[in-house]
Every structure is written in C-alpha cells, then in structure tokens.
Symmetry: C2
Subunit: 249 residues, 2 copies
Amino acid sequence: VKRLNVHDKTQSALQSVARKLQLLADLEPADIAEVMALPFRLQSVGSGHLLVREGTRPTECCFLVEGYACRHKVARSGKRQIVSFHIAGDILDLQHLLLETADHNVQTITLATVAWVDKQHMLELSRNRPMIAEALWKDSLVDGSVFREWVLNVGQRDAKARIAHMLCEFASRCEAVGLGGPERLLLPFTQEQIGDAVGLTNVHVNRTIAVMRRAGLIEVQRPYLRVHDWSALQKMAGFDPTYLHQAAA
Amino acid sequence: VKRLNVHDKTQSALQSVARKLQLLADLEPADIAEVMALPFRLQSVGSGHLLVREGTRPTECCFLVEGYACRHKVARSGKRQIVSFHIAGDILDLQHLLLETADHNVQTITLATVAWVDKQHMLELSRNRPMIAEALWKDSLVDGSVFREWVLNVGQRDAKARIAHMLCEFASRCEAVGLGGPERLLLPFTQEQIGDAVGLTNVHVNRTIAVMRRAGLIEVQRPYLRVHDWSALQKMAGFDPTYLHQAAA
DNA sequence: CGACAACTTGACGGGCGTCAACCGGAGTGG
DNA sequence: CCACTCCGGTTGACGCCCGTCAAGTTGTCG
C-alpha cells in the first residue's frame, strides 16, 4: 500500500472517494462509474503546504488521497483557529463547489497527496446524478454537525475535556476508515496544533496532556498515540459519537 | 404584515422560503411552483418551545415563518452551548433531511410560527429538481461556514470581541432580510442566551456590555439594540462578513 | 402589591495565558 | 563522528481574565 506507481495511485485516488460516497447515499453502479470517470490531477505536497487560501476564488476542489490536513481561520489578533482535521479519503473543500470565495485556509499537516477536480465537472456530475448530489450534500451536513460539536467543545468544556474530546473524535474517525484504533494510532499533530484546534496555548496543552499521561490514561510517543483507558477518556470528554453520523459498521 | 388571517399566512409561509431559495440558486419558474405546492402545516408556539430534541429521529423538517429561534447542545457538565440563532425565513433543521438522528436541539426564543414539511416530500422534490437540491445544499454550506466562524469566535477572541462579533453577525443577517439595520434592531435575547452563544457567563456578558455601552458604542434598551458606532463595533469584533456568503444586494 | 425573571454590581478565587528557560531528538555540515 | 541548529516538548513563576457566589435593583405581569 505504501509504494504505488502512478497508475495505482490514479486508480486508488478516486476509489476512496467513491467508497466514501457509497456509504453516504444509495448509489447505483452507473453513479460510481461516473465518479470514477472524473478527470482529475494528482499532486504530492510537503507538510505545511497551503492548498486553499482564505479570500481566494477556487476553481477546483480537492480530495485528500494520503496524509493529514486541516482547515483553519485567523482572527484579527493573529491567533489561529483550526476548525477541522482531515485524514485520507476526506473531501477537503466541498464548500467551494457552491460558495464563490473561500472563507478559510486548507493546509497539509504532513506529507500528502491530493487530487484536484474541476468545479464545473463536479457540478455537472451532481446535476446529472441526483444521488451523487445527495451524497455530497450529506457529507456537507456531517461536516456541519462536527463544527457544531467543536463550538460546544471550545465554548463549554475545560482543558482536560477539550483535549480528551478532540482525541476521541480523531480516534473514532480513524478507526472508521481503518487507520487504526485507540490502542495505537498515528497522531501527527504538534501540541501547538492541538491547542489551535481546541482554543488553548501549546503550554497548557502540554501540561494537560502530562496530567492525562501521569494518570495512565494515554501515552503519546511522537507521532503515535496510545489510549490505555478508552472508556475513561470518553467519559472525561463527555464524548458521544452520535454527532459523527457514521454509517453503521 | 402583523395581522394575517390563515389564508395569508398559508401564502406567505412558503413564499419566504421560495424567496430564500431563489437567492441561493438559479431556479426556474417551475422550481418555484413546486416549492409553493409543498404540503405543510403551520404551528404557532410560545417562547422557549422545543421544536426538535437531540437524539430523536425527526420525520419532518421545519421553517421559521415568524419569530426567533436557536439551536443548542448541552455538555455532560450540563452547560449549554447555543450554536446558531435564527430569524424569520430561516430553514431550521435542514440537516435532518439526510441525517437520521438529531444531534442538537432546536428551540424558539420568542413567540413564533413555524411550518412543518414532511421529509419524504422534501426529499422527492430535491431529487426531481436538481436546482432545488442545489439551493438547499448551498444553504447547508453557508450554515457550515457560520459554524466555522463561531468556532473561531469562542476559541480565539476575548469577551469584548466575542460579543461584538455576535452582534455584528446578527445585525448583518437581519439587515439582509429587511429586519432593520444596526441603527435600530430587535434583539430578543437575554444576556444569559448571549453568554451561552459566545461561551461566557451571563455575569460577564453583563459587565462587558456595560463597558461597551459606557464607551458609547451601543445601546441596549430591551428588546432593542442600537449600534452608535457601527465601524468601531466591527473593528472591535474583527468582523468580516465574507463568511456569511450573502448574495449581493 | 407581590412574584418572578432579567439585569446589575461587588468580592474573591482559579484556570489558563504569558514569558522565559531548559531539554531532547532529528537533520546538517564540517 | 562530532558540533551546531532547529523544532517541539517540558517545566516554573507570575498575573489576568473570567467564573462563581451572592446581594440588590429594575421592570413586568398577575
């Protein structure tokens, strides 16, 4: 899986998207075929690469084929807020299909490969194939549900619960797509990035994680996370995965 | 406009929705006609009425015809987070068209009248009329964009900027649909509700608003808000309305 | 006039930010 | 093979913003 030649990547890039859409709506084989036939271009980028810049008007939308990415906004004060983390298979900027100007940045966190698809091609596909439109729409709705939970997270929970919740969500999402479970998981974020996501400083993230580690809850050996007591972590977070609207496994 | 008989209300209920959808996508007259032909039922409810309860499986989705409402979630600790405010013409729970179980509560803030439409009818309409689906999808995307801004708001801004930002957003949205501008505006929220929306306590909201009032920025004479220095308020908030993706007036 | 909800104000304390120093591993170049 | 650098993690001291608790005021509705 690690070493793919160009042809393999070409295949798998859209396959992961097609698989995702199949879980979201009741697609016919003809729908799948149309998705696989979409013209796209692959791009390999380094970590920290800016894929979409706030204020611009994208003409393509992009999928994350491999690696990790995030979306973020910056306040007038210069402080940065990460609004979502993304893993392989995620659609990164679906919103720009229908919204003219980007309201946030999209940036890679690790080495990554992304697939770019022209907006017009996607739009035509979704207009000709109502169930594909519905799958994409549903993906946007799940996106929105996760944002609501993040508002709750930064708005009402204390530091321990915030970080625990972010870890629970990330572990759940990784597990759902076969990227490993809570017992051992790639967690390629710096403590500063975690802080930017939950509204804390890197210093306080460090202190809080240290407490959780000393309590025997979790173990963070860069870049891996091990959760030793999954149910205790969920309880500390007040984590209820309903809001992820994950298809039943 | 205040006193409508049943027939007038029946007309206007779906007209406001149709108008909204027209702004979101390029609808044909036939699309509009189909929207207006949707079967629905009107309901008048008091303030504080729960329209959708978290964890249930709604079979209808509802539009806000008149009055004010909000959506909120509660943390394990019992603290409440309001994730959005809504005004007349808003679609309140579009997400439940495609998502089975509700991940948050929908509640009125004032006396209100809402229109309920059966999920299946809405779904069929959106499947038969791609541009209607696209309008609804775009509404969901704008919804998501506002959530992202709220994450930034509660995650990175201090009390003054948070409250100022919430006021700027609310005034902008009201103005966009003709409900009055910053100079004089109905603001039917208690300070506790404002606090639940921006992640502060009612006490601190009170203190912060008092400072803004004494600085001559705003005036809050329940239930009205007057903004005396609109550009200063925007500056204090770091408010940039791009994220609202409002159609050009 | 009494009841109740919302607003207001003060005192006090704590969670988290800020600043700053130090550590430790990975990559780099001599 | 070892210095050097750099980034990220770690720890301590200190202070402030905002939460908590509590009392009092105002306005509205019965």
